[in-house]
């Protein structure tokens, strides 16, 4: 999967938000807020093809977390990004 073109992650006073911009995303009138972990993953995989396993590996590399938990959290995150219309399969 891949993050769609036209989404930008920005800091908002210690929090993180994703907004749609550019001509591709002009009708995306939503704000997605991310916690710092999700924002870290976003930064790592933007402009790349990635899988749930890639997200999970990024988590286990950076945080003290079991593979099982990382995989489950990654799956949930990917699902929520999909649901929000942020990624292409």
């Amino acid at each position: 999967m891949k993050i769609k073109k036209g989404f930008v992650l920005r800091q908002l006073l210690g929090e993180y938000v994703v907004t749609g911009e550019g001509l591709e995303r002009v009708n995306f009138n939503k704000i997605i807020s991310l916690n710092s972990t999700a924002a870290y993953l976003w930064e790592q995989v933007q402009d790349k093809d990635f899988s749930v396993e890639d997200l999970s590996r990024l988590l286990t590399d950076k945080y003290e977390v079991s593979e099982e938990t990382a995989l489950e959290d990654s799956r949930k995150l990917a699902d929520s990004w999909k649901e929000a219309g942020l990624i292409d399969e």
Partner: protein, 308 residues
């Protein structure tokens, strides 16, 4: 328009007129043929100033020098003006505009890359006023995005030297809530009913009237410090809810111009909203369309009224 007789043939020569305006402190010039379109655009009159160097120069032309490119964006929501945006081969912006998505294009324009110069061609003279106003609004938002200026979809009242901006989707009752203030809160005045402008200078947010005010002809050349931003939410009782910074950001984001065609403009809009939500409180006003709603709102954003 002047008619000259030249060798017995009538030659019609357009006489162009140029006027200069100041909107939220930004100077705009408009140049177009003398004629009754000027008389119809009374909304611009309060903003006229003497000649000055403009931030954006609008000019009507007979024919555009550029060919229409393939549009990159078509904004054609039902019930709203239709706008397409494209880029020409030499990097200029090309817009087309129609009053509604099922009506033919009424105006084409070409803007320089930084939106400082705009040539527009009126295709349908009967829609000239619509076309000129919408061209000016669109380009104003794009040109000033990087100058801590936001064109915002809101109805604004003034009271005691402060402005209160009511936001919300079309049809939620922004104008109605303003009317409730006007009818129930002494000393309230309408500043603008649809498209006021917020500008942040040295950390202070001011809200300005503009020549664009939707269906309400309220074109006040005035400004006040912005006291609060209030999102109108229909409810079964009247109460206010203070918003967190992220909620405030999310509340403002859909109410500002949706056109962020490049990164510089998008960053400008983002920075301005961040500066705004850190200097002005934002609320949700859950309300009925009644006088009590205005009083409840006023108590929160302005303070208690004595004897009312």
């Amino acid at each position: 328009m002047t008619k000259l007789v030249k060798n017995g043939i009538f030659v019609i020569r357009m006489v162009y007129m140029k006027k200069t305006y100041k909107v939220a402190g930004h100077v705009l010039s408009l140049e177009m043929p003398d004629g009754n379109v000027w008389q119809q655009m009374k909304n611009l009159v309060p903003f006229e100033i003497g000649e000055a160097s403009p931030l954006i120069a609008f000019r009507q032309v007979e024919n555009l020098a550029e060919q229409a490119p393939q549009p990159l964006l078509v904004s054609d929501d039902e019930g709203f003006p239709m706008i397409t945006i494209g880029k020409t081969e030499n990097g200029k912006w090309y817009f087309t505009m129609a009053p509604l998505n099922n009506l033919p294009v009424s105006c084409n324009c070409v803007a320089s890359e930084d939106f400082s110069e705009v040539d527009f061609q009126i295709v349908n003279p009967r829609q000239a006023v619509f076309s000129i106003n919408n061209t000016m609004m669109l380009v104003f938002a794009l040109r000033t995005a990087t100058l801590y200026t936001l064109e915002i979809h809101a109805s604004v009242v003034m009271k005691g030297g402060k402005g209160f901006a009511f936001l919300g989707k079309s049809g939620t009752g922004k104008s109605t809530h303003s009317r409730m203030w006007l009818e129930n809160i002494p000393g309230t005045e309408l500043l603008n009913d649809d498209n006021p402008i917020i500008r942040i200078t040295d950390g202070v947010a001011r809200i300005y009237g503009s020549p664009w005010s939707g269906k309400t002809p309220c074109y006040k050349n005035a400004s006040v410090e912005l006291g609060a931003v209030v999102r109108i939410v229909r409810a079964l009782s009247n109460f206010t809810e203070k918003l967190s910074l992220t909620q405030s950001y999310a509340c403002l984001f859909p109410s500002v111009s949706a056109y962020r065609p490049d990164r510089k403009i998008a960053d400008g809009v983002h920075n301005t909203i961040v500066a705004l939500v850190t200097s002005v409180p934002c609320y949700n006003m859950h309300c009925l369309p009644d006088g009590e709603a205005a009083k409840v709102c006023c108590n929160t954003v302005y303070g208690q009224e004595d004897g009312s």
